[in-house]
Amino acid sequence: MSSIVVKTAGRALAPFILIYGVYVTLFGSWSPGGGFQGGVLLASGIMLILITHSQKEIQRLAQDIDWFETFGAFVFLIVGLLGLLLGGAFFSNLWPGSPTMFIILDIVISLKVFAGIVALSIFFFGVEVKTS
């Protein structure tokens, strides 16, 4: 359906977008960025492959991706409850002065947003392919 130019450009651009998403996620504590932005960048990389290729393997992989969303939300809640148990308040900082907790929360939020946006885009792009 899509031409070879679109396919090649999408395949060439997607790894850089994914790497930049991982960078924005992991370095949220030192530079502008964070979990939400990194997750959306990762999802945009997958969306680019989805639009240009729309292969069945990617869609099958994305069938189970909404589990990651539940996992992310659950771990976020667990970290908050750990802060309640060990630190005395909901989401209290377990390692004050070090960015450990921020990196954990960033990764978790990034996974969650990534899985959510990819599941949404799979849903909106994939319905037509599935029924045909």
């Binding site: 969303e69 809640l77 969650k112």
Partner: protein, 82 residues
């Protein structure tokens, strides 16, 4: 026509916005002086995930519920059509 009216209204209301000096706001000074104790160098990150982590939790849950709702509704519609 409605777009022109809306643009005019937004422009008129934006004229009333005054640039207030909030440089001596105490909460800003607190964040600038104390965010090193929380951990990250990035001030926004410190506010988002430490001082206002509960707020971020609500944000995450809103996204979660919205996406879950869309997926559930779409699944129901597809089963109904088949």
């Amino acid at each position: 026509m409605g777009l022109v009216v809306l643009t005019c209204l937004i422009l008129i209301s934006s004229l009333n916005l005054q640039h207030e000096d909030k440089e001596d706001s105490p909460i800003k000074e607190f964040y600038e002086e104390h965010h090193e104790e929380a951990g990250p160098d990035n001030l926004v990150e410190a506010i988002l995930l430490d001082y206002r982590a509960y707020d971020t939790f609500g944000e995450v849950m809103v996204l979660y519920i919205a996406i879950t709702g869309v997926l559930i509704l779409g699944k129901k519609r597809k089963e109904g059509s088949e």
